[in-house]
């Protein structure tokens, strides 16, 4: 019982980190139709910026400033590099973000080296906040969830309740009309790309401290974030939220199962090959999200809440 309880909480926490990352990706996609392959690299850049800033300025400042800087970088990338490519269609943009991911990785290695950097939470967040079925729940995990909820709550309010959000949503479906009404859609796109980058960086400052900050962090978390976005439905924030929690829970709960596949499927085991029956259920956990994605693409290509097919 204890293990199920702590697994649920772990899954929830991991899910929120995935969501923070997936939200920016799906936001940019919904508005600009760009699958940003460099999104996870911006997450990594956020982690490194956070590391560099936390030294002289303290962690709290780093959490605020690093996303700001990466957000501005995102704006600049959109304004001077992505926008000229826009006329040549999505393939050019896709290839550009793909190349950008490598560029950022190499740049990070040049500046900060190939090893792990010591980016961690301040001592105030290292302690445990409360006991959950006998296991301490670290304060930084609670902080992570709180930041995710705050960031995404304000994102929701911004998009759904403000005038700016209205223009953004209108620019999504009717860019020409919005332009004719006197709004600068190019600038809207730029800020949205910047916002997505800032969200990734925010996830990075916190995720980098929670996991590790090193040059391969982008590629490692990048793939799983794509899975989240595809399962949730391309461009859907609610979908990304549900998918992130679903994948977080699925992975942690499968690991908690202490059975071999043969025992888990019971009577059916008679028809399964012996090699397969001997596999531990926990060994399947890492594949589960990808299996789920394949199943989703076959049965419901638009994902949970998507409006168009992947």
């Amino acid at each position: 019982m204890d293990i199920i309880a702590s697994s649920l909480l772990n899954g929830l926490t991991y899910g929120f980190l995935l969501f923070m990352l997936a939200a920016g990706l799906t936001l940019v996609f919904s508005l600009m139709g760009i699958m940003n392959f460099a999104h996870a690299s911006l997450y990594m850049l956020g982690a490194y910026m956070g590391y560099a800033l936390a030294r002289p300025l303290g962690f709290a400042t780093a959490v605020l400033v690093a996303p700001l800087l990466v957000g501005l970088l995102g704006c600049a990338l959109e304004r001077w590099l992505l926008r000229p490519l826009h006329a040549r269609g999505h393939v050019a943009e896709l290839l550009f973000t793909f190349g950008l991911a490598f560029l950022i990785e190499e740049a990070v290695k040049l500046v900060w080296g190939a090893g792990v950097v010591d980016h961690h939470f301040p001592p105030a967040l290292e302690g445990s906040l409360f006991q959950w079925f006998g296991t301490p729940y670290p304060a930084y995990k609670a902080f992570m969830v709180a930041v995710a909820v705050a960031a995404l709550g304000s994102l929701y309010l911004l998009v759904a309740r403000t005038r700016v959000g209205l223009i953004v949503r209108a620019a999504l479906t009717h860019p020409m009309m919005v332009e004719n009404l006197g709004h600068d859609t190019d600038r809207v796109f730029m800020w949205v790309f910047g916002l997505g980058s800032a969200l990734a960086a925010l996830a990075g400052v916190i995720g980098g401290a929670a996991l590790t900050t090193e040059p391969s962090m982008a590629t490692q978390l990048g793939t799983i974030v794509f899975v989240v976005v595809v399962i949730g439905g391309l461009g859907s924030i609610q979908g990304a939220f549900l998918a992130a929690l679903l994948i977080g829970m699925l992975q942690t709960l499968l690991i908690a199962v202490d059975l071999r596949l043969g025992q888990a499927i019971g009577m059916l085991a008679r028809y399964a090959p012996a090699v397969l029956a001997d596999v531990k259920v926990s060994q399947l956990a890492p594949i589960a999200p990808y299996a789920l994605m394949v199943a989703m693409l076959l049965l419901r290509p638009r994902g949970l809440f998507g409006r168009r097919d992947a």
């Binding site: 792990v116 996991l211 992975q251 531990k280």
Partner: protein
């Protein structure tokens, strides 16, 4: 010798001209180098080693540390010995077997006869096969594979080869040393095994079960877990499972990030267990655990910072002067340089086949005591150390690790011959 002059008529602004210029300069430089080396050849043996390491991907930090350690060892050797000279060419094998084989092909074409590194046991396995095949097809131009880190026991047992030498104690030898220390640690009662899901991790798991059953049958193994290598980011679920099992000790062969994240998650969940590891002194693990690992993080290894002889101190100082935040974590590459140098001197040539025969049975003063390259299976017998994480006190813990004021105290030294495995190799030797 005349200094070659550059042709002056080439207009530097033209690209074709520059290309020609570069080619000519390169040709002249090569010619000059050849003349220079020819004049030295009578007095000096040059040993060219191709070092293949994962310099990109999840195990990059491991590859980079190996490159730096080998460089420090070679620098120290070249400064000390005048008659033998090591030259190392570094290649990025990217942690991929196919890439390692491509590099092997290119390097043999360039006339390199010694190969080291590769990465994980899976990649090294392919390289050994390639070396065996190459030597069969190119008699008189044989190459040697020097294994400094891949510790899959099969390489010196069922799959042993005359052309392969291992300079690092393998999985079973290390586990034997670890278990013989555990026999003295009465607090170990319930053990959890967590390892990477590939040949090396599986062998650590099997080895632990075998030795614990025979040497401490009272210990209960309360769980076995394998996770994907290099891809698990969140170890919290695994730690929850370890906690639920009621284990007091975790044994793991994890290295690099897989160890860092495991230890960090254990710290967060307040998992109060001892960690017996293979690589707890390496690549970020000490930083990740910090003060929470004091008296809890143990390892079995070959490197001993507290008792460095002059030669190791020179290598260590050279390394730390350049890379203060990283540390040497094993002696594999250092033993390789020392033994190979001695074998070249004994053979009187840098030709791989005589050097291989000279290496067989070679006994010498290694990094931290007497070592022996067993003739029967080409496995190095070297002392192993059981070490525990503790604060630097200037006595038992003399140096901090990764720039911290925490380091490793040595609790036991297991002599080179004590861990000697049963010979399980039927070596096919070529004619001399």
């Amino acid at each position: 010798m005349n200094t070659p002059t550059l042709p002056t008529h080439v207009p530097a602004a033209r690209f074709a001209g520059i290309g020609r210029l570069v080619r000519r300069t390169a040709a002249w430089t090569t010619a000059a180098t050849l003349v220079l080396s020819a004049t030295q050849a009578w007095s000096q043996h040059t040993v060219r080693i191709a070092q293949l390491e994962p310099l990109s991907g999840p195990f990059q930090s491991q590859g980079e540390t190996n490159v730096r350690t080998l460089q420090a060892a070679v620098d120290e050797f070249n400064a000390r010995e005048k008659d033998i000279r090591f030259e190392v060419s570094v290649f990025d094998a990217q942690g991929k077997a196919q890439e390692a084989l491509n590099i092997f092909r290119q390097a043999t074409d360039r006339g390199i006869r010694y190969f080291a590194g590769g990465g994980s046991s899976a990649i090294v396995s392919g390289l050994i096969e390639a070396v065996n095949t190459y030597n069969e097809r190119h008699p008189g131009r044989e190459v040697l594979y020097l294994n400094h880190q891949a510790i899959d026991p099969d390489f010196t047992e069922s799959r042993c080869s005359f052309w392969h030498f291992r300079f690092d104690p393998h999985v079973h030898m290390r586990m034997f040393a670890m278990t013989s220390y555990i026999t003295r640690d009465a607090a170990v009662k319930r053990v959890y095994l967590i390892n990477q899901d590939y040949s090396f991790g599986q062998q650590v798991e099997a080895s632990a079960k075998r030795y614990l059953a025979s040497m401490r049958p009272d210990i209960a193994i309360v769980g076995e877990e394998r996770h994907p290598i290099g891809r698990t980011k969140d170890f919290a679920p695994y730690v929850a499972k370890i906690k639920a099992s009621g284990a007091d000790t975790v044994i793991t062969g994890n290295f690099g990030q897989d160890l860092v994240l495991l230890i960090k998650a254990a710290k967060d969940a307040g998992l109060n267990v001892r960690f017996y590891t293979y690589y707890g002194n390496a690549l970020g693990a000490p930083t990740a655990v910090g003060a929470a690992g004091i008296e809890r993080l143990r390892l079995v290894g070959t490197w001993e910072t507290n008792a460095m002889p002059a030669r190791m101190k020179a290598i260590y100082d050279n390394f730390k002067a350049k890379y203060p935040k990283t540390d040497i974590f094993h002696t594999g590459v250092i033993e390789m340089v020392g033994l190979l140098g001695e074998a070249v001197r004994k053979a009187g040539t840098a030709e791989p086949k005589p050097v291989a025969f000279a290496l067989e049975g070679l006994k010498t003063q290694g990094a931290f005591g007497e070592v022996e390259m067993r003739a029967g299976d080409h496995q190095l017998l070297a002392p192993l150390f059981i070490q525990t994480f503790a604060a630097v006190d200037g006595q038992q813990v003399r140096y901090g690790i990764e720039g911290m004021s925490l380091g490793f105290r040595t609790d036991a030294k297991i002599g080179a011959t004590e861990t000697a495995p049963v010979m399980a190799c039927q070596m096919k030797r070529p004619a001399r």
